[in-house]
C-alpha cells in the first residue's frame, strides 16, 4: 500500500479506539488521584463515549472497503452503539444513587439493573446478529469468535477461581465475565482478519 492509499488518521478505527482508551485512562487516573469526584468522572466518561460515533463510522467504512459489511452488521453496530450509551448512562446513575442514597437490599437490586439492562441489550444484539446474518461466511466467523471469547472466559475464570480458593490471587467481581468475553471475541476477530489478509496476499 502506497502512502497515498493510507487512510487519514481520522478514518482509522484504531485511532478512535485509542482515543477512547486514552480518555478513559486519563479519567481513571484523575479519579484515583481524587482530582475529580465520581459524578465529574461519569460526566467526563459520558463525553468520551461520543467518540464511539466516529469509531463506529470509520469501522463501517473499513468493513465496506474490505468487503465485510452486510446489512446485519450495520444493524448490529447501531444497536451496540445505543446499548453502549445506555450502559454508561445506567452505570453513572447507579453509582451516583448508590453513593448518595441509603438503599434497601431490594432497591439496590433494582439500581444494579440500570447498567445491567444495557448489557443484556448488548448480548441480545450479538444473538440477533448471528440470527440475522445472511452471509454464511461472516456468520461462521462471528460464531468462531464468540466461541473463542467463551473459551477465554471459561479458562481464565476457572483458573482464577481456583487460584482465589487457594488464596493466591485477590477476588475479582463477576461482572468482569462480559468484558473478558468481549475482549476474547474482539481478539479472535482481529486475528482472523489478519490471518485472512496474510493468506490472501501470499
Amino acid at each position: 500500500m502506497s502512502d497515498a492509499d493510507q487512510p487519514s488518521l481520522l478514518r482509522r478505527p484504531g485511532a478512535w479506539a485509542g482515543s477512547i482508551f486514552a480518555s478513559f485512562g486519563i479519567i481513571a487516573g484523575l479519579r484515583m488521584s481524587s482530582a475529580i469526584n465520581a459524578t465529574t468522572g461519569f460526566i467526563l466518561m459520558a463525553f468520551s463515549m461520543v467518540l464511539l460515533i466516529p469509531l463506529v463510522k470509520s469501522a463501517m467504512a473499513r468493513q465496506r472497503a474490505q468487503g465485510f459489511l452486510s446489512p446485519a452488521i450495520t444493524r448490529y453496530n447501531k444497536r451496540f452503539l445505543l446499548a453502549s450509551f445506555g450502559y454508561v448512562l445506567g452505570l453513572g446513575l447507579a453509582v451516583t444513587i448508590n453513593d448518595r442514597v441509603e438503599l434497601s437490599q431490594g432497591e439496590t437490586i433494582l439500581i444494579a439493573l440500570l447498567p445491567i439492562i444495557p448489557i443484556f441489550a448488548m448480548i441480545w444484539t450479538m444473538a440477533r446478529y448471528i440470527a440475522e446474518e445472511q452471509d454464511e461466511f461472516l456468520r461462521h466467523r462471528a460464531v468462531m469468535a464468540s466461541l473463542f471469547g467463551l473459551g477465554v472466559v471459561l479458562s481464565i475464570g476457572t483458573f482464577w477461581g481456583f487460584l482465589e480458593t487457594f488464596e493466591v490471587v485477590p477476588h475479582i467481581w463477576a461482572w468482569w465475565v462480559f468484558p473478558a468475553w468481549a475482549l476474547g471475541l474482539g481478539f479472535a476477530q482481529c486475528w482472523m482478519t489478519w490471518r485472512d489478509r496474510t493468506e490472501a496476499s501470499s
Partner: protein, 64 residues
Amino acid sequence: MKNRLKVLRAERDWSQQALAEKLEVSRQSVNAIETGRYDPSLPLAFRIAQLFELQIEEIFEPER
C-alpha cells in the same frame, strides 16, 4: 475442498465483488471460498453451480 471458482470467474471477466453481488454474499466470502479457507454450505454450492451452469462436482472436488 479444492475449487475452480477463481478460474471460472476469470473466464467470465468478473471481479470478486461482481461475483459476490450475483451470489448475494460478501466479497470476503468469495475470497475465502476461492482461496480454500472456507467450504461453502450445500445451498451456496448449488447457487454457485447454478450461476456458472455447471454441476457442483465440476466446480468443487475433495482434497486427496
